[in-house]
Symmetry: D2
Subunit: 127 residues, 4 copies
């Protein structure tokens, strides 16, 4: 088992490879304010410009949200979550930050093409 | 193992019981339009007027989203998700409806007080 | 969402119904000694006389082991776990009993036919 | 997020480091025959010579079984699975091999010390 890392697709020539990498890549972002001790939203999305299939033998079956070495939330999906349609899997987690800085990474698992890890997003938490 | 069902707390006299039932109850709702074949948002929230602890020996460790007899998504949490603070666990799932009517229920599992099931929410999907 | 309960198939006349109920039913049993404070084995098996499909659109995707109202372990599977062959899903959990009596139930989730719950197995733990 | 890899503890001088590495390491092994198309047992165990705590704020919360790039089974635990006692987390998965060669790896997640990956075990499947 290995972890596939995010690659900047603007640096990739071949269209098929750009599509392959983009649609498997997990992206982690914040929505609105991230405040210490208050409920704050972290979004995980799989794929940015391209869509991943949601077929019974080929779909994104889970994403995980990590803060440093700690997994703080996980969402499991089935092909039916996406209506068996190609799409970009997405989930919004509501977390309560307890630290001054969050080091967030997301992972996504494709049932055919294995485990993918996002770049780390460093978030300065508002006091 | 049994499933605890939602009870309307306005019908409950004793404050401690209202708190106990409300903070464990899962609520399922839609956010914005629910359109056939398009990404649509379903929110699960645990607790409405009251907050549930998020302590290492007592927290909401997962919620599930069901459509009829099929589980379409699950989110797992740790006490750290909520910063070990009392709160109302919350997650937004993005689903793509493939049917004309969705029969949504949510379940929530408390590590001390077991499994809880929401009322069913019937959603007429826009075409 | 509802929980389907175990039914004694010897009391069921129609062969198709016996097959349907048996292959979805979760069975919980102990293997060897169950000793307080020592690692002890609890088996969950889905189906007894009949086999359940393991196809990408129809398989047993998880089983849970409950002690009273507390979920103490869960195993998730894919159709590939069973090599996409009809079989009886099975897993052995190693637990360390901390109580004098265990009240064990198992649940099994079929991606087509929903959630099933075993009878409760009461185990007197050896001291 | 990073994956900690197995290290041969016989090559490590410092006792505390040997303990730290051993008790977090996932080990994957087979039990009995591994036959094509027949139910076969794969064991995952966390820790070999040393034991890991099972406390509410520090326990092994899941292990995964991978075959090449595909996750074929996962088990989730709580501190209560091990009766809150230090131990070596263990689970036996029953799989049905569909290939001639299995490339098995196990991962284990500690709620304090992150994700650990076993060495790969190559298994020639009996026909």
């Amino acid at each position: 088992m290995k972890i596939n890392k995010y690659e900047d697709i603007s640096q990739i020539e071949r269209e098929a490879k750009r599509d392959y990498i983009d649609r498997h890549s997990a992206f982690v972002s914040t929505v609105g304010d991230i405040k210490k001790g208050e409920k704050s939203i972290v979004k995980i999305k799989v794929g940015d410009e391209y869509q991943h299939p949601s077929e019974n033998d080929h779909f994104i079956s889970y994403v995980q949200l990590w803060e440093g070495e700690n997994m703080i939330a996980q969402a499991n999906f089935s092909a039916a979550t996406m209506g068996n349609a190609a799409s970009q899997v997405e989930v919004d987690f509501y977390i309560v930050p307890a630290k001054d800085t969050l080091k967030l990474t997301a992972t996504a698992y494709c049932t055919k093409h294995g485990l993918w890890q996002s770049d780390e997003l460093v978030v300065e938490v508002q006091q």
